[in-house]
């Protein structure tokens, strides 16, 4: 493995694990811009850590939660920006 790829792998691991510093993130972005094929390393690490985070036994959600989510979304849809957007999108 090339030094650059090895460095990218370390930075991708820190990024996916949520342990990267701002400097690490900047360096990783630069490496990804230079070599987009490195995205695969980041994606695999992201998927791996996500699997870890979703491995806990699922818990039953309260029956009212979805209705409360819908209510919040409806409030957001009816907000000022939404009305402005629909007004501008009128033919």
């Amino acid at each position: 493995m090339s030094d650059e790829k090895e460095r990218a792998e370390l930075l991708a691991a820190l990024h996916a694990a949520g342990a990267a510093s701002d400097e690490d993130e900047t360096e990783l972005r630069a490496l990804l811009e230079a070599d987009p094929s490195l995205e695969k390393i980041v994606k695999d690490f992201q998927d791996s850590i996500a699997a870890l985070a979703s491995s806990f036994d699922p818990l039953e959600t309260p029956p009212k939660t979805f209705a409360q989510i819908q209510k919040k979304i409806a409030r957001e849809r009816g907000g000022f920006f939404s009305r402005l957007r629909s007004w501008f999108s009128k033919p």
Binding site: A12, L14, F45, A50, L52, R77
Partner: protein, 196 residues
């Protein structure tokens, strides 16, 4: 008129959520991921009431960001978990500001990566998938597990972890990389258990 087929692929479901205002795709998406998200939030926050409140915010945010989802950057589960983790970390930081920083002890003592067997609110429907994941994660060494818990579930940087565990920063980085490599080798097992 023929009824439209329901999207079953999670990526299609996210696209439908972004395009459809009826709420049906969101409902399906919620049914698919809410119990997993709630479990993660409970693990990170340790408070059922707070986890339930943040669960709502997580799904509102997922709905809001559905059109920005990019499958080339990670799977749907990774996207969902990233949003949930970020919201939980915000709540942990707010709690730290209010009550001081004793999150590490809190997480290690009460949670960690282990089973919830025996809890009355644990759903039994997904146990095969979760058991497969947990068995795979047993392959992580204790050292790897602890740095990943501190970084991922408590949001610590490698510098903070080094300070907390009294280790050189280079050792922390090596353990994170080794742990992530180990997790990556489990991806095929994880994918197999998802389709089994």
């Amino acid at each position: 008129m023929m009824a439209e087929a329901k999207p079953t692929d999670p990526i299609d479901l996210v696209a439908a959520m972004a395009a459809d205002d009826s709420g049906a795709p969101l409902k399906e998406f919620y049914a698919l991921y809410a119990s997993t998200v709630l479990a993660l939030l409970m693990k990170m926050l340790g408070s059922r009431a707070e986890a339930e409140e943040i669960l709502q915010d997580v799904f509102v945010e997922l709905w809001r960001r559905a059109s920005q989802y990019d499958s080339s950057r990670g799977g749907v589960v990774a996207w969902v978990v990233t949003v949930a983790r970020s919201r939980a970390l915000d709540a942990l930081r707010a709690r730290s500001r209010r009550y001081g920083n004793n999150q590490q002890q809190f997480f290690s003592d009460r949670h960690g990566i282990r089973t919830d067997g025996g809890r009355p609110d644990v759903l039994v429907s997904s146990t095969r998938w979760h058991q497969a994941l947990r068995q795979a994660f047993q392959r992580l060494s204790e050292d790897q597990r602890s740095v990943l818990e501190l970084s991922y579930f408590l949001g610590m940087s490698h510098g903070q972890i080094a300070e907390t565990l009294n280790l050189p920063v280079g050792t922390v980085k090596s353990r994170i990389l080794a742990g992530m490599r180990e997790l990556r080798t489990m991806l095929p097992i994880i994918h197999r258990s998802m389709v089994a």
